[in-house]
Point group: C2
């Protein structure tokens, strides 16, 4: 009986499935809740999933009855009917997941004064007559000048394309949205004036709806990046995008559709129309940035990993396919290089990055981890391929931070205590959970400083010839027990990930002639950074051993930075300033990085002294 590995997205949980088993059974065995009403008879159609990689059994009659030809062609199947014929990647649509992923949205309100790029003015005009034939566009500009002393020289072309019927419908009384010296929208006088800030991550997308007249956040929402079906990390996305030009377009369109939906959902929360959104700011890593802007990406993954453009780019929303105010723009803040994107710049903006003379290390841990060392005006940045382990990837029972994920682990008196998201039965382990597990296993002696398993320890067992440590057990409805474990390979993955990050921090310090002790502040941003236990981070040597008060976990700082760029022209200038102050250091492949990497792959608290590890109690 042949079995295959199935990866269920967007939650990122994978497991084995035999050819005799349905995808629904497989998901249930893994503890993933897929909606199913009819009990697997193929009659309700609620267990729809989409195949994005691999081969499944032929569609059954119930599937042919429930799904259109186009849907079947697009890979849609009923999970209760389909069985794998090879390793597969399966997407569960949001409505089919019984619980959704936790996406980190909160953070401080934006710490900048309101100085919006788009302002609006209500004007009243008289209708044209045979003796007053001023053109429609000029009539609007004249009214702006006469009634508000605002000088505009241009009307965006798409606004021109509807100006005449629009003014007549509004009976020559309207709200004019102005950006610089250009009219970007003509709306009803009572329309709200909205903006949207977006943190476009490789995995998740966080959107914020902002009142452009007050700077207040009106609504926020996190959703999955729908490109996830085409690769979990930026490298595999780009690999897909460069295969053929339509594939890059496909990835672009997926994100645009999701952004349009996000705008709609956020606007509906405040009962507004998306036509009221007059400006959007999007920050993301350079790959997400390039893919969304249809920029070339092939060179991003070839040495020396050059970005097509670094400076801020303004693009008309309709050019990218976004359906908001007629002539609205999307502003993309600048990126530093191919591996340090606008999200990192936005994060640096959101934190206090010029705290006179203090030495600040700011990092956003992800599949790719960007790190900056700031002292005064000088910013030194690097980026390291830390892999997906801290997001639950490449970990046997790893998953993203969704319901049922183990997020906290303690080992007391050789007994494991754990906590799951939503206090649900454990179905896997997410980033903060694996970090805790690694730290506690090390501290309790389950593994030694090299990561090797102890010969004996309560919970250590051998399964299929592999040593593993049982963290938790779930008892399923049928009374069967399933263990959530960490094995030797998982430990190795985590060691590689944390060594990459710690080496990055280390070399940035060395290049600036600092040691760990010189660091005044370590700022950890992002979802993982927000949920991790600092003690665990230090225990495994992921972060330097410092007093806890020198750490700051700032939440989704990139999202806050995006909001700052949305409502403040000074912030846009500052973003430019940050990029011009930043020096990028490429570490991958250097001898010093390789040396540091070996030293920092060990567990435990330590400092590096001239490249050598010195243990700290």
């Amino acid at each position: 009986m042949s079995t295959h590995t199935i990866v269920f997205e967007p939650i990122g949980r994978k497991g084995e499935c035999s050819e005799e088993e349905s995808l629904l059974d497989c998901a249930r065995n893994l503890g993933i809740g897929i909606s199913s009403i009819c009990g697997g008879r193929g009659t309700c159609g609620t267990c729809r999933v989409q195949l994005t990689e691999g081969t499944l059994s032929k569609p059954t009659d119930p599937e042919i009855a429930k799904l259109s030809k186009k849907e079947l062609n697009d890979g849609w199947r009923l999970a209760c009917q389909a069985s794998p014929k090879s390793d597969c990647q399966i997407i569960i649509p949001p409505e089919g997941l019984s619980s959704s992923e936790r996406i980190y949205l909160d953070g401080m309100e934006t710490p900048v004064a309101l100085e919006p790029p788009v302002k609006s003015y209500n004007v009243k005009m008289t209708a044209p007559t045979l003796t007053d034939q001023e053109a429609d566009a000029e009539r609007v500009l004249s009214a702006l000048k006469a009634q508000h002393n605002v000088t505009c020289n241009r009307v965006e072309n798409a606004v021109l394309r509807s100006i005449s019927p629009n003014l007549r419908k509004l009976k020559w009384e309207c709200q004019v949205a102005v950006r610089g010296d250009e009219v970007v929208a003509i709306m009803s006088p009572d329309n709200p004036l909205l903006g949207m800030a977006v943190d476009l991550g490789t995995t998740t997308v966080a959107g914020y709806l902002v009142d452009m007249t007050t700077g207040k956040t009106l609504a926020s929402k996190g959703v999955m990046n729908p490109q996830i079906g085409y690769g979990e990390d930026v490298i595999s996305r780009i690999d897909f995008a460069v295969r053929k030009s339509t594939d890059a377009k496909k990835l672009q369109k997926l994100v645009v559709n999701r952004l349009n939906d996000l705008a709609k959902e956020l606007c509906s929360e405040v009962k507004a129309d998306t036509k009221s959104v007059v400006e959007v700011v999007i920050v993301g890593n350079t790959a997400m940035h390039h893919l969304l802007l249809n920029l070339p990406v092939r060179q991003l993954v070839l040495t020396p990993f050059t970005a097509a453009v670094s400076m801020a780019v303004d693009v008309k929303a309709y050019e990218l396919g976004m359906k908001i105010a007629t002539g609205a723009y999307i502003h993309f803040p600048p990126v530093v290089t191919g591996f340090v994107g606008a999200d990192h710049v936005a994060m640096l903006q959101a934190i206090d990055n010029r705290d006179d003379g203090k030495v600040i290390v700011a990092l956003d841990i992800g599949t790719n981890t960007e790190i900056s060392l700031i002292k005064g005006d000088k910013i030194t940045s690097t980026s390291c391929a830390s892999g997906p382990a801290f997001e639950g990837g490449h970990i046997k029972q790893g998953m993203r931070a969704a319901k049922g994920a183990i997020e906290r682990v303690r080992i007391e008196d050789k007994r494991v205590i754990y906590q799951t998201i939503g206090e649900a039965p454990p179905i896997g382990i997410c980033g903060s959970g694996v970090l805790d597990a690694l730290a506690e296993m090390y501290l309790a002696g389950v593994i030694d400083e090299s990561g090797r398993f102890a010969r004996e320890y309560p919970g250590i067992r051998r399964e299929d010839g592999k040593t593993e440590f049982v963290l938790a057990e779930r008892i399923d409805a049928d009374g069967e027990k399933t263990a959530i474990v960490m094995n030797q390979k998982d430990v190795r993955e985590l060691q590689l990930a944390k060594a990459a990050i710690r080496s990055g921090i280390q070399l940035l310090l060395e290049r600036n002639n600092f040691t760990d002790e010189d660091i005044d502040m370590v700022i950890v941003a992002g979802a993982f950074g927000t949920y991790i236990d600092l003690a665990s981070s230090m225990s495994v040597g992921l972060l330097p051993s410092l007093p806890v008060e020198r750490f700051k976990q700032v939440g989704n700082a990139a999202g806050i930075g995006a909001k700052m760029n949305l409502i403040s022209l000074s912030s846009r200038k500052e973003a430019r300033d940050i990029v011009s102050r930043a020096t990028y250091i490429e570490l991958a492949g250097t001898m010093e990085f390789k040396r540091a990497f070996v030293e920092t792959s060990f567990l435990g608290r330590y400092r590096l002294n001239e490249g050598k590890r010195e243990a700290i109690d």
Copy 2:
């Protein structure tokens, strides 16, 4: 036996056709040469024509064999097989016409200094490395600054979309086309730098290919406006465009395709690629302007006939569907009002419009005639619906200026002498011919000053109960004689047309407190204006009676003005200046216009004194 009226476009010749006759026979009877090789058996397919209005007989088997289903749906037929079932409009494609229309292209070279909106610079760069990760766009901008001291802040988005592979293909050595502070194209260093100026008329399109580094015209070409199938004048085009939004798009696409072909043809004359065209300037009347820019047009034909926008509009060529240099722009100079377009402004630019204190009347005669009175800084403009008579429209045997058209007429000793274009047998009569005929018929006494036919005169005859005057006779291959005539209705059409124009001139003078004698210069532009006989124009009272040296026929001045705007930023400023100096006077519907119209419909040389006609010998 039922007969129907068939209008053959683009030459504008119409005639009767019975239901038993083929379109090919009908065209031949009218003297129009449609290519046909197989002798009307439907086997060669060269006599393809397109039906744009009316009903034809059902497609025959040879037609079904020669034409695809789509072609038949689009109205394509074989002229030798199809017979009319109603009045029809038929388009003969360029390749099917044995002789082409004469389109006026010449004119003075542009009288302005070179000050082009787009310049180009050759730069050499070093390839990025791991220690020099400057982004591709920034690398180009840095090279521009370092090697040419040119500061650019932006790279057009479409240029960004191909910048990375492009620079690598060009091995970091390229020509950078810069417009203002923006890079609009990155090309091979040896590419020529070209621009295209277009005079987009309702009937014809004149294109000029210009070397942007010298300002020299390299090639020019005139083609038909393909919208002609959807109405001969702007009103009927707009009527078509507002029926449904896809119809407006259809008209737009027709012109864009024609412009793309025109660019290709012009470039091939100098063995260049259309990707070398880095800027386009298009002038046209306000309707052509709005339709091409996808601007709203409904309000253009409803009182008070307001333009959507008057100021100059820059639009990216690719946004309109034009395939030239990657990020190139199309510049549309400003219009004055709904009825005084950018072509008139360009014409005013091409003539010396500030000849200190002189009183200048400048006019471009067409279906719509725009007239400006200039004195010093002040420009008073108007527009009058003069109808298509002077372009051969609404005249029984009228046609455009194509081979076989009578273009000159003299009556000496009661005998008509005439000249045809290309010295071909006469098949109709074009604008300059009908004006001559009207003048000579009046001077010879064939008609009196009210336009009424004399009772008897050699050549006057009655056909089908209508009085007509025979101008010429053609003997066809089969020995049959066909007469080219002017009838009473033709004379009336011409009187209406010339009264509209003369009234316009008259009222502009009156509003400025001038009389005919105060005019220092009458400038007549456009194809018709270039070919007309000035004496005939004065004899019928179309133009004021003045010494011949006070007239200037300037050819396609609008085309020259377009070229000026293409190569000179100062000219673009001047266009803006002209529009700001121009006051539009709406005459249609005013009592004074009605009064002047009655007086000026009489033939003969005269002046108006307090609204009353005073004859001049």
